[in-house]
Amino acid sequence: MNHDLSLSSAHVPVLRLGDVLLITLQGDLHDGTAEQLQRDIAEQIVRSPVTGVVIDISGVEIVDSFLGRVLAEIAASSRLLAAQTVVAGMRPAVAITLVELGLSLPGLRTALSTEAALGMLATASPGGPRREPR
């Protein structure tokens, strides 16, 4: 069989931009990779003083109940560690499917793009909005 898609079997990179962690999910994640990501994010939040987590899923073709649960758990554990999570860029077909599946993820904050997600976090950060030029 010919498998041409790149498979994310290793760690997903977690980038730090100021006080936000940025994670970009691509392609088809295996279950183990998603669970590893959950642990990596929690450790990074504690290690560096971040107040927000943005997970860009615009490159993800399907979110099933497993990945949906992992995203919700990342948001919940980040909140306990004083960081807010925004999931950005969900594809329309994924949103329609998740609702039909019965997984509307009510506690999960979303934004249409990474840029919009960063804007939400900047406005919401306790140190006040970072709108002014420095």
């Binding site: 069989m1 498998h3 898609l5 498979l7 079997s9 088809d28 295996h30 279950d31 183990g32 073709e61 399907i62 979110v63 099933d64 109940s65 497993f66 949906g68 649960r69 594809r91 329309p92 077909a93 994924v94 329609i96 499917t97 039909e100 599946l101 019965g102 997984l103």
Partner: protein, 148 residues
């Protein structure tokens, strides 16, 4: 269309979470080859992912068979997930949202049923479980009455 569309029919093992990835990729390609639209592809791939995970987690592994089916001019994809696991004692309960015996969200079976056109569950305790789902590529424009 006559004959089978290339790359649709397959039998695939489900023995690890890596196999779930291959199952999703195969179902995606097969549905696209049969003319499924993007939303219908996404629904069927998601249903396949839920069912394959059930086969792995609750059935102890098994396999998926993919077949090309036709009804008149409509093209369909039928997926059969089978395992020789412990079986499901109460299928109606297993299909209800929120029921789980394995620590998940309990959306797998009931959720998968909502994402496909036809769904059947055949399970015998102690023997195994077979779940068969079929979805159809809806062609647009809708079928018109044709002159004979």
């Amino acid at each position: 269309m006559s004959g089978t569309v290339a790359g649709v029919e397959a039998r695939m093992p489900i023995r690890s979470d890596l196999d779930l990835v291959w199952v999703r990729q195969h179902v995606r390609r097969a549905a696209a080859a049969l003319g499924f639209g993007l939303v219908d592809q996404t629904k069927l791939v998601t249903a396949a992912s839920e069912l394959a995970r059930n086969t792995l987690v609750y059935g102890g592994g098994g396999e998926m068979a993919a077949e090309h089916v036709r009804d008149g001019r409509a093209q369909g994809l039928r997926l059969t997930f089978s395992d020789r696991g412990p079986g499901i004692a109460d299928p109606e309960r297993a299909l209800s949202d929120g029921y789980t015996s394995g620590g998940g969200l309990g959306l797998g079976l009931g959720g998968a049923r909502r994402l496909v056109h036809d769904f059947s569950l055949d399970s015998t305790p102690g023997v195994g479980t077979t779940v068969t789902v079929t979805s159809w590529a809806v062609r647009s424009p809708r079928q018109r009455e044709e002159p004979r």
